[in-house]
């Protein structure tokens, strides 16, 4: 077995071979390279890169993060260097690594999503993650993720423009997550990512101003874990495509909770900021857990919660 491989953890997810089912969540791990002093990227299941748009975007002005109880708000606003810079400058730097690179896409229109998918239907990209759940941009983003018809339109457009597996990242800010999941599955999604951030706000009681320059932002971190686990559980039961679970994962125990709830893989977001080696620690922890329980493969955990309902 090559570096980072472990027979208990190797996973095939939506047709992508991974050394383990632990990915880094989009927007929290840059392009992977930022963390290379701390972690051997080859030990990760996959790297999901920052939300990429057609044109470079400067993101939102003012303060972009706020700490909240056991969590944080962010309103980055999809700052990114644009898809061409990603293809021409970043992707070649990732080529030496033996780790699947998943590109998170965000557009203002369904056509833009299609165009992004087309431009990224290239070697070196393992899959596309369609972000229809960014709460921090005025156009696009979450607007697509809270309406079934719009979501369907985006997913169909992306599918038409790429041969890569298409993962759709849903917003938790909806009344019925199962309905959204079924809609994108019907539209051709190969997998579903859950959850993006919950829309939140914090106010500075000294200045009487919102802490975030954008007034509202996305809540992530341990605080949201119960909501994320619940949505993964609901969706995994309702769809046939695999689910990537995320939201507040800080330990192997948290990751196992998502796997038991039905996630076939997990992603770590905010946790990277706290511990840059967290993904590797989690992979090791899951492996230890499997060994202790006499299990041979991580798949033996997936969806195995014995619910009372």
């Amino acid at each position: 077995m090559s570096k980072g491989e472990n027979s208990q953890l190797c996973t095939e997810f939506a047709g992508i071979r991974m050394k383990n089912p632990i990915m880094t969540a989009s927007g929290t791990f840059g392009f992977g390279l930022e963390y290379k002093d701390f972690i051997d990227l080859n030990e990760l299941g996959a790297v999901v890169v920052k939300g990429t748009t057609l044109k470079p975007r400067p993101g939102n002005t003012g303060c972009r993060i706020a700490e909240t109880p056991a969590g944080m708000l962010n309103s980055i606003g999809l700052e990114n260097p644009g898809v061409d810079h990603f293809k021409d400058v970043i992707l070649p730097q990732l080529a030496p690594y033996d780790v699947p690179i998943i590109v998170n896409l965000a557009g203002n229109t369904a056509d833009e999503y299609g165009e992004l998918a087309r431009r990224l239907d290239i070697p070196g990209v393992a899959a596309i993650e369609v972000n229809i759940s960014c709460p921090n941009v005025k156009q696009g983003g979450i607007a697509f993720g809270t309406d079934c018809a719009s979501a369907t339109g985006v997913v169909e457009m992306v599918k038409r423009n790429t041969g890569k597996p298409v993962i759709v990242k849903l917003s938790p800010n909806v009344t019925d997550i199962v309905m959204m999941a079924r809609a994108v599955e019907d539209a051709g999604a190969d997998a579903i990512s859950l959850i993006n951030t919950l829309l939140g706000m914090a106010i500075d009681i000294r200045s009487w101003r919102p802490v975030l320059g954008n007034t509202v932002g996305g809540l992530s971190g341990p605080a949201v874990k119960p909501v994320a686990v619940r949505m993964v559980w609901q969706v995994a039961k309702a769809v046939k495509v695999p689910v990537i679970g995320m939201g507040g994962i800080q330990s192997a125990a948290d990751a196992i909770e998502f796997l038991l709830a039905g996630a076939s893989a997990v992603a770590v977001g905010t946790g990277n900021f706290v511990d840059p080696r967290i993904s590797v620690r989690i992979a090791e922890g899951i492996s230890d857990y499997l060994t202790e329980r006499g299990l041979t493969h991580v798949s033996e955990l997936i969806g195995r919660v014995n619910d009372y309902c």
Binding site: G30, E34, T270, N272, V274, D275, P276
Partner: protein, 255 residues
């Protein structure tokens, strides 16, 4: 240089003023590499509350002893927790992070305000044996615990306080033209409140003196991954304060 994640041992954590502490830790691998202007990212709680690390400028290092010092003001939950670190405690530290000051010139001036003076301490040491001039501003004498720390590492210290309780009455900016001229300054380094740094940069630019500024922003990752700390550069592109900075040429980030 390689960024490190370390379990560092607290050596001491002393009160300098009722709200400012100086924390010395044993972190040989970081101390061996650290440059003035760089920072460390400290996990302040063992659990998840508060969740994020806290960034602090490296105020001093003893590479041989493997120690590193940060000087911090207690302003909120995280720094309050830090103030209870005790000798012997193990803390989780990332560093050295960011791009430090570029050492240059023959007669450097360091202009600092508030806790922005902390990184200038290590910078002053590193600039030796050049004659280092320091200009610092604060509100009152109470906040001016810095001069003794700089005593042996600089040629002269100029002080301004808003109430005149120590040094000249006024701001550092008021004294700046005079200090620049009298000491034939050929490079300026500044760290402190943004308005102060903008004023310093402007004065330096007018006199054709190169100026480096150290910026601050709320930071989640500290390594350029999350984009919580970016700012616009003069050329219209963006800079990450944590990894492209925190030190920049004034004209790179101020318009």
């Amino acid at each position: 240089m390689r960024k490190l994640l370390m379990q560092a041992t607290v050596l001491d954590n002393m009160r300098l003023t009722p709200t400012v502490n100086t924390l010395r830790i044993l972190a040989p691998e970081i101390a061996a590499q650290a440059l003035p202007g760089q920072f460390v990212h400290i996990k302040v709680a063992a659990g998840i509350q508060p969740l994020l690390r806290r960034p602090f400028s490296i105020a001093d290092i003893h590479a041989e002893q493997g120690t590193l010092t940060v000087i911090y003001r207690i302003v909120g939950e995280g720094t309050a927790l830090m103030s209870s670190f005790s000798p012997g405690d193990t803390i989780d530290v990332m560093g050295p992070l960011g791009q430090g000051f570029r050492l240059m010139g023959e007669r450097p001036l360091l202009v600092g305000g508030g806790m922005g003076i902390a990184p200038l301490l290590l910078l002053a040491k590193a600039l030796c044996p050049r004659p280092v001039y320091v200009l610092m501003g604060g509100r009152t004498q109470e906040e001016m615990f810095w001069p003794p720390l700089f005593q042996n590492v600089c040629e002269s210290i100029h002080i301004a306080t808003d109430d005149g309780s120590l040094g000249r009455c006024g701001t550092a900016l008021d004294m700046l033209p005079e200090v620049l001229e009298q000491n034939k300054i050929d490079v300026v380094y500044t760290c402190g409140p943004r308005v102060m740094m903008e004023g310093v940069a402007k004065a330096a630019a007018e006199m054709g003196i190169p100026c480096q500024v150290s910026l601050e922003e709320h930071m989640a990752c500290g390594v350029g991954a999350c984009l919580s700390c970016t700012c616009a550069a003069s050329d219209g592109t963006r800079r990450k304060i944590c990894s492209d900075g925190p030190v920049f040429w004034a004209e790179e980030v101020f318009l």
